[in-house]
Amino acid sequence: MESDVLVVDDSAAIRKILQRVLRQTGMSIRTILEAGDGLEALNVLKAQKVDLILSDINMPKMDGLQLLASLKASPQLRHIPVIMITTEGGATKVGEAVRLGASGYVRKPFTADEIKEKLAGILEPVRPL
């Protein structure tokens, strides 16, 4: 089954890198959607179902932890796995993300292999023809 992924980061550079990395993971991905902050992400999710969200923590307007809390409070959205991708390495924010229900986190700077490892078990690999 092909999956749809939402990338949430205020940095267009990171969104572009994640677009490239996600296409290289060998996972069966149909669409990669983008949002620049948590509020924008919630608006995207009103119109489009996704199978996975990759989200930064430090963002303007609505940060990644607020987005995660909103998702987990919503019966329609709480099932979507969320992986946090962040420069934050401290126990406080990462611990808060785990407590709120994040499926995992990747610390920036990241490698393609680290992203691929986190996707395993959430997305399906491309099936050979």
């Binding site: 550079a13 490239r20 401290g90 700077p109």
Partner: protein, 166 residues
Amino acid sequence: MNLQPQIMDSIRRSAISVFSTMLGVELGPGEASIEHSTPDAIDGVASFIGVAGAWAGTGSVFCSPDLACRVCNRMLMTDNSEVNEEVLDAVAELTNMIVGSVKNDLEAHVGVLGLSIPTVVFGRNFRTKSAGTTDWVVVRFPWEGETLLVKMCMAAHTGHVEGPDL
């Protein structure tokens, strides 16, 4: 508590790691120094991030327009030859990752710190000035004939109870 040795080591480690992981570039250890905040006028790109907590300060990255384009092109697989929004965004993210890593290292010594959203400036013949009198830890990384400069200054808030010298 003097954090300058920790900041110096952390800037080196962080910049080398970010360049290696995100740009595929192996940086050398760079040349480190302690400098006062009276810089010469510069041409190019300057990126800043504020750090706040029991200690507060600023982390910044400076480079030429050409080097900023090279950072962007390596990071995003683009072909920019002049500074545009994409290049500024790439330099901002580079700064975010380097200063963010330093912040994570410093938290072991001074407790939880927060980061601001990066600000990037591009121009000619401009100076930057940080309020306060704290010296800057400066590390110059040579790369392909140019220099990437990473600077950071941190000071304890007034009234903060200092621990022993590290």
